[in-house]
Symmetry: C2
Subunit: 360 residues, 2 copies
């Protein structure tokens, strides 16, 4: 859907740039991943694990196919031209998806995620990245928290890995104690814990709702429901008291749900706080210090002013970060994603919130 808005580009002479917090990259072929895998796993197919919907909209922008003939988002030169140069992107936060989280065979899932990390480092974050435009994510398989922590340790200190990446699809919400080794490693190395939608209800992951949806649009809408579950769980279980320097990034699950959820949670907290004595503040008060959220796919109500009000209530100035979801077909252009918003707010959303979070 091309939403009609005025061009709200960042001005070329602006004192700030654009940090795109959700850019997907892919290997050129399976061999690029396989060569990083222990041979004992070579018999396993590398693809699969995401089979709930046979829906043609799992597709990329048709113009994202590089002239080189390489797969979409696997040709760094073309991605630079089509995304980085086209929009004046200062940094692209790369989210490579190993789709390890839905897999029941956890040792292979962990090995697969590791191999994707090796590949990312070798192809996008290494010599090719002399100007440091690309920043990467450490993919983990949260089914094995201890192994995830080891994977984080393996990359911590790398100048271009700036966050840990997991899926929103899970068997239990993220406040549960079993995930603590992951958060401990994230906090130790000052790496935000990012979660991305897309494997909810697939493989071993429960669906983020009661049972399974029947249509892609239902599943896709429900991504905002799964994030609500995770966020309530983390707030209630006191994750941010146990890990006071942990930051969390919720990618691609919508944004406007947050104020209503926090109103409800704060209202119930006033009633049930005896149950959660470890909380030192109202649940909502942890958000600014600990949670960031990305913009694409941005909800667009009929009236822009309603969205602006919601941005105000969710403290977008401090927690919202722009994302395009390149190269997917529902890409949000930096020029047209938002209605006209105040310059100061634009600067925070497009640039400063991510700059501060990732220390860019």
């Amino acid at each position: 859907m091309q939403i009609e808005t005025e061009d709200v580009s960042i001005k070329p002479k602006s004192s700030y740039g654009i940090i795109d917090c959700d850019v997907h990259v892919s290997p050129q072929n399976q061999e690029e991943i396989r060569k990083h895998l222990d041979p004992k796993w070579h018999w396993r197919p590398l693809v699969g694990g995401r089979d709930l919907f046979a829906h043609p909209t799992y597709v990329n922008r048709t113009d994202a196919v590089p002239p080189s003939g390489l797969p979409v988002s696997s040709d760094p030169d073309f991605l630079r031209k089509q995304l980085i140069d086209e929009y004046g992107i200062t940094h692209a936060i790369l989210l490579h998806r190993s789709f390890s989280n839905p897999l029941p065979f956890v040792e292979f899932a962990t090995a697969k995620a590791s191999a994707f990390n090796n590949w990312l480092e070798e192809t996008w974050l290494g010599a090719y990245n002399a100007d440091g435009v690309f920043k990467g994510s450490i993919q983990i398989s949260h089914q094995d928290p201890a192994a995830s922590a080891r994977e984080i340790e393996r990359w911590a200190g790398h100048p271009h890995f700036v966050q840990v990446l997991s899926d929103s699809g899970a068997r239990a919400p993220y406040g549960n104690r079993m995930y603590d080794p992951i958060f401990e490693a994230c906090q130790k190395h000052d790496l935000p814990f990012a979660t991305h939608v897309g494997t909810d209800g697939m493989g071993i992951n429960l669906q983020a709702s009661i049972g399974y949806p029947t249509h892609y649009i239902e599943w896709s809408t429900a991504h905002c429901i799964g994030y609500q579950t995770h966020l309530v769980s983390m707030l209630i279980e006191g994750v941010f008291e146990r890990f006071p320097r942990l930051r969390v990034v919720l990618v691609e699950g919508g944004i406007s749900w947050m104020p209503a959820l926090l109103w409800r949670l704060d209202t119930l907290y006033a009633r049930y706080r005896a149950e959660v004595p470890w909380l030192k503040r109202k649940p909502s008060e942890y958000i600014r210090d600990h949670v960031r959220i990305t913009s694409q796919p941005l909800e667009r109500p009929d009236q822009d002013k309603h969205l602006l009000k919601m941005l105000d209530w969710m403290d977008a100035e401090h927690i919202l970060m722009f994302s395009s979801d390149y190269p997917h077909w529902d890409f949000d252009s930096p020029k047209h994603a938002f209605p006209k918003i105040p310059e100061q707010l634009k600067r925070r959303i497009y640039f400063e919130n991510a700059k501060e979070l990732y220390k860019l």
Copy 2:
């Protein structure tokens, strides 16, 4: 929590009254239910099925214990005094909870729900109800949709049964085709389909989120998440196209989540509408014709004006109905539940929306 607000009582000389859409009543003893049960089920305990949390806040207002010594909400004279007369309630919509929905043994679950309906009719809706203040709900066990439809048929036409009542706890969201016999019976007899929170994640019901919460406050907050799943499912599956006269009531799951969810759904509908060709309108456009939502426990953000804005966006004037949740401890008093709202809106919320829905 006693929220500080001004007294916003309905004026005694007002041209409208108050319809309370969530009032719980209970039997005085198990024998009142057992006598309506086939003797083949007398060996089964009537209590239980709701054991996820051992939490003392499952309790009633301490002042709701009748001087008669009868259980809370089982003494009609006392309820009349404490609720109906105290606040000038015009009608109380009674929701008796049989807690049948979490039970795996479906024949007994259905029989138990039926026995509760018999009891309600005999005690609250019959001779005692000469002035018609009390209106009842037909409790069903949605695990068996055909049996549910028969139970609806059994009571349809009764002057004081005004809706069908089910739980939000379920094994699959309500858009799924298996529930159609229930909706067909509701539509045929012009009875709204109401769902009430409280058995999510209990017995055979999946939790309304990814896996199970660990604390009562988390579970309770998540009631608003389960309703989002049900509502998206019903809208997407085209329930309101299949049953164009069906009305649905969402009881006790919060209200402020609705605008954000519909913004997201409408945004994605514009992209994925080919998948759901049976939808004739944007998903959000079905709400005013088909969905009503009750107010308690009302979220109270720090600033009242934010809630007023949300009421506007959710079209509260047409879809929101006041509820107190008497006799529970988190009872919302008709006097203090809402901040000061315009008189016309108050009239719709406290009275007219329910009057129109239930044809009172």
